[in-house]
């Protein structure tokens, strides 16, 4: 099994609700993948299963051959949809904490990104705006030399200039062994950066293609196609 991420007949039910409904998926290394879908389509559930925060109802999932757990977490860097850091901590404290916790954490990279985004390492999180906190979280996640990055809405809360910097970081960080999966609603901002697109709808995969396949076959951008497919 050469694929970095592989899942077969993966389902997650919450009572009668099918958050994920029989998903089979293979994602190789060296890809930047957009996981796109309207609200409640299963994007965050999928990412949580990858991180062992939820257990699947049916089916299985492997990351570099591992089931989600201690071994997989060593190679997966996850940006959750919500803030989980302690408010009273300084950025420098959190960096030290991450450095202790993850052997692949690159401190220099973190401080470098902080500087570029004008964030002071001595500041406490509670003094920061929502957008700045999000930037700090993303810096922590991108400072690991992981094999799989799972970014749940990484650019939703930040300004357009920081958005460009973040996308630039994702491109600059690219390596052939690592894959990045990004869930977002800001498709037009991000589609140039993506290899593959996965459309999720009501827990099922509606489409799995490359950006250029979509543009070639439909003559539309991914953003336009999304608006058409998910028209309310």
């Amino acid at each position: 099994m050469n694929n970095l991420l592989e899942c077969r007949n993966l389902s997650k039910y919450f009572g009668p609700v099918r958050a994920l409904d029989n998903i089979s998926l293979s994602i190789g290394r060296g890809r930047i993948v957009g996981l796109l879908g309207p609200n409640a389509s299963g994007k965050s559930t999928f990412m949580k299963i990858c991180n062992d925060l939820l257990t699947p109802t049916k089916g299985e999932i492997r990351i570099a051959g591992f089931s989600p757990g201690v071994e997989s977490k060593k190679i997966v860097s996850y940006l959750p949809e919500r803030n989980y850091l302690n408010d009273w901590m300084k950025v420098s404290d959190i960096i030290a904490f991450f450095h202790d916790f993850y052997t692949d954490f690159n401190k220099d990279k973190a401080y470098d990104m902080l500087k570029k985004l004008n964030i002071h390492a001595g500041d406490r999180l509670k003094t920061m705006s929502k957008g700045t906190k999000e930037k700090v979280q993303l810096i922590l996640v991108m400072s690991r030399d992981a094999q799989l990055y799972l970014l749940d809405e990484p650019i939703g809360g930040v300004d357009p200039a920081a958005r460009d910097y973040i996308l630039d970081t994702i491109i600059g960080n690219y390596n052939e062994n690592a894959t990045v999966i990004i869930s977002t609603h800001l498709i037009s901002d991000i589609e140039k950066v993506l290899d593959d697109i996965i459309f999720l709808k009501e827990g099922q995969i509606l489409l799995h293609k490359t950006v250029d396949e979509i543009r070639e076959e439909t003559g539309k951008s991914v953003d336009s196609l999304f608006r058409e497919v998910f028209k309310c």
């Binding site: 060296g30 890809r31 930047i32 460009d164 996308l167 630039d168 491109i171 600059g172 690219y174 037009s188 589609e191 140039k192 950066v193 993506l194 290899d195 950006v211 250029d212 543009r215 070639e216 003559g219 539309k220 951008s221 953003d223 336009s224």
Partner: protein
């Protein structure tokens, strides 16, 4: 020169055109070493695999060549670059003529408009 990418066409095809343009206009002169895939991808804000694919295609066409260890270079074949430049010019003129046709202009009218404007520009 800024990278201009339209949203409704494959990115890969547009990168090929933009790279050709940069080679023809001398931004990447004959025999020069090309920037790395990563740098080019970052500059154009595109996926590195897509940039790699565009570069590989130009290599296949002979406009670029790669050295196993030292990277990718622009061809030294000036004649080939000239041909590419002509091809790009023809595409531009085709597009222009099509639009002028849609506006209902005759060939002779188009020529006189161009001549007049060019004379104004030279002044």
């Amino acid at each position: 020169m800024a990278w201009e990418l339209k949203t409704d066409r494959p990115i890969y095809a547009q990168l090929i055109e933009q790279l050709e343009l940069r080679i023809c206009s001398g931004i990447y002169p004959p025999g020069a070493r090309m920037p790395s895939v990563r740098d080019l991808a970052q500059e154009a804000s595109v996926n590195p695999n897509t940039m790699q694919r565009a570069l590989a295609s130009l290599e296949e066409d002979g406009l670029l060549y790669s050295h196993r260890t030292s990277g990718r270079f622009v061809t030294k074949d000036v004649e080939m670059i000239r041909k590419t430049r002509n091809k790009l010019a023809q595409e531009q003129v085709h597009e222009f003529l099509k639009k002028m046709g849609e506006l209902g202009f005759e060939y002779s009218e188009i020529l006189s408009i161009i001549t007049d404007l060019a004379e104004e520009l030279i002044k």
